[in-house]
Homo-oligomer: 419 residues x 2
């Protein structure tokens, strides 16, 4: 079947927000084996929306829209679809009850214009919204289907997963399964040159590479009659790739470096602590993002000023005076110091120049030291992150935090080898 | 004039990459006052690309495409446009020289298929590519224009700015100026109901509301002959809205809460410090995101474990035992404690239950206390963030950090009133 995605919203059209809804829907449909032939964005304008929808329905069997289901006068998607299919609008009592209940739960007054959100084209399949007031809906006719979803991603995504996936499953034969291999510390070009022959030759399963900031994801997808059969097709390929890429693979289906770190620490009942300068709390933020991280993480210090590095984290005055805050020595003492202060098993540290200011010829923007300290291993890495990414403060900080997490992960795995 | 953006690339269609090109182009065109009526994405498929382009040219005067200018067989944009306009392809000698020179500079061998990149529709205006091998081009005909740009953003953006902007300036009369009013702590619906009459009545300047996670942005845009005249039209409206929304406006054109906090601290030569539990370093991460934050921020402690709250931040054992870590009293002692420890002027703190686990009937997921402590003000806010966003750990943490930054901002502004 041919599908297309139509996102409604002037704020996307004007470039005020990035269209992440299209990415999510395209990925989900691709995973099901439904081909997306076209994506488009149109503003909150009745006439243009109608023309777009008409065009989409001519060329595709399934159109998924996001946005334009809100309570205000410029939310028009439902009305336009009803018009195109020649359906009357009617009040859906159940939706109205749900909307009333939602406002009651929030203890907020419901205004009259919210009633508009319970008006539905006659015969539509209603999709409940667990995270907002606008219900979604599916309208069928003329051998076509239009799925209307709300615009906010935190409403749209659960509605797609809980309401639309089961509906679409009728169009699917067999199943598609994907597994993700997470790769760090090796360039995309190098991975591609190692795997190119395999990537080009394989059709089922397939290998798709995705570059993310500073890391890489290899998605292996197989289609088969059952999930078990798909998995059996994928397993040997995962094993092969993990063998090829060695310790650059930091996990399979693990989600993120921080999740891998928390999992590996939990397994071994180890605790980690962070002393951050240039990353400013980003590492502790990433670790504590992981639910359950309180089992392995007690303490992080963002020692942004030298005085704090010295007085609280315990870097020696002499080290700071002789080598400076951005130095191998300071990173080492920060990692050792936070471990002492926190009583954790492993200390990690960052100190560097994230820019845009503060660089010198000797210590340019992007120079970052990442340290680790524990009884079985001490190491400091020198990173030069600005060569690739001039003046991108947030990117430098992100990459520095990723290197620190990857260094922690390797260190944790060394521990297991010793015991 | 009516414009639309057409992005060519199967990787966007499948959701493998986010379409940031469309965002960039939409913003740039909006800034020039060129209305973008439609955005679309199509795969690397000749027939569908042709159908899309044809449709775009029927409804718009200007079509800007990205992607499909590469050397391989599935790069088809130029050929498709030539076909639609009935133009022959011919070798452009200058482009070929540029491509040869580019490979020579990189010291890489040039392959034969790169010659394809120098083939151009007859009569096209060529746009030099300073960051890659694919030249861009502009094709005119039938009162329409198509601008073809390469797909990689680091090639596309400079080409747009240096080559396309000067070309488009012929279509522009006057200028458009926007200013952003940043709003926190008041619901979107409430703001809209306060401003609805104005929003509907105004045509120049206009007010456009954008909801972001936990905050709101009101964009005021005016078109006029000169930037000065546009600003003069906007100023009274900004004043009016700021008057209406009072202290909920945290800044105009300030970018983010953390930037506002850093700016206000800098002005007054004040320092801030953070003691974070549930936000896990997110507040210090947000503060240090701002370039120049080292002038106002020295120290943050992520005291995730009770033992750290007590031993390092200085929360009393009795408080923790009697009221628990997630309590008004602990938040107050954390804010006071981090101020003592860091010697900063202002201490802010968070402690709460971010979920998904750890909630109880008395202290459910989403219960967060946010504290501030300084000589002229002490306050603790109780937030119940889960009512709106059940089980969204990252969103709860984000909102908690925003409330803490907003509380800090209000506190800093109280200081100025005292002196």
């Amino acid at each position: 079947m041919k599908a297309e995605i139509l996102c409604v919203g002037t704020e996307i059209l004007l470039g005020d927000i990035v269209n992440t809804n299209a990415v999510f829907l395209a990925q989900e449909l691709a995973r099901m084996g439904i081909s997306v032939y076209h994506q488009s964005v149109v503003g909150d304008n009745s006439q243009r929306l109608k023309s777009c929808l008409q065009h989409s329905l001519e060329q595709s069997d399934l159109v998924i829209t996001t946005g334009g289901l809100g309570p205000t006068y410029d939310d028009l998607t439902k009305e336009t679809v009803a018009d195109l299919f020649g359906l009357e609008m009617e009040l859906n009592e159940e939706s109205l009850r749900d909307i009333r209940a939602y406002f009651k739960k929030l203890n907020r007054p419901m205004t009259d214009n919210n009633i508009k959100q319970a008006m539905m084209p006659k015969g539509a399949i209603i999709l409940k919204n667990e995270n907002g007031t606008a219900p979604g809906l599916i309208v069928e006719g003329k051998g076509k289907a239009v799925v209307l979803l709300p615009g906010p991603p935190r409403e749209m995504k659960p509605m797609f997963l809980h309401g639309v996936l089961p509906y679409l499953s009728r169009y699917i034969q067999g199943t598609f399964i994907s597994h993700n291999i997470h790769v760090f510390g090796i360039g995309e070009a190098q991975v591609e040159s190692m795997l190119r022959d395999r990537m080009e030759a394989l059709t089922n399963p397939t290998i798709a590479p995705y570059a993310k900031e500073g890391e890489m994801l290899l998605r292996i997808t197989a289609g088969a009659e059952t999930p078990e059969k798909a998995d059996a097709m994928i397993s040997p390929l995962i094993e092969e790739i993990c063998g090829l890429l060695g310790e650059h693979v930091y996990g399979v289906d693990v989600g993120s470096l921080q999740t891998a770190v928390v999992q590996e620490l939990s397994k071994r009942h180890l605790h980690i602590a962070t002393a951050e300068s240039c990353t400013g709390g980003l590492i502790s933020k990433r670790i504590t993002e992981v639910s359950g991280s309180s089992q392995v993480f007690d303490c992080g210090v963002c020692s942004y000023a030298n005085e704090i590095k010295q007085r609280i984290v315990g870097v020696s005055e002499e080290t700071l005076a002789r080598f400076g805050a951005v130095s191998r020595q300071t990173a080492a003492e920060m990692a050792a110091g936070i471990r002492r202060l926190s009583h954790a098993d492993i200390g990690i540290s960052t100190t560097g120049i994230a820019g845009p200011g503060g660089g010198t010829p000797e210590k340019p923007v992007g120079l970052v030291y990442v340290g680790v300290d524990c009884p079985w291993h001490q190491e400091v890495l020198e990173l030069k992150l600005s060569r690739d990414f001039p003046e991108e403060r947030e990117l430098i900080r992100w990459l520095a935090s990723s290197h620190a997490l990857y260094l922690a992960l390797q260190t944790i795995r060394k521990y297991s080898k010793q015991v």
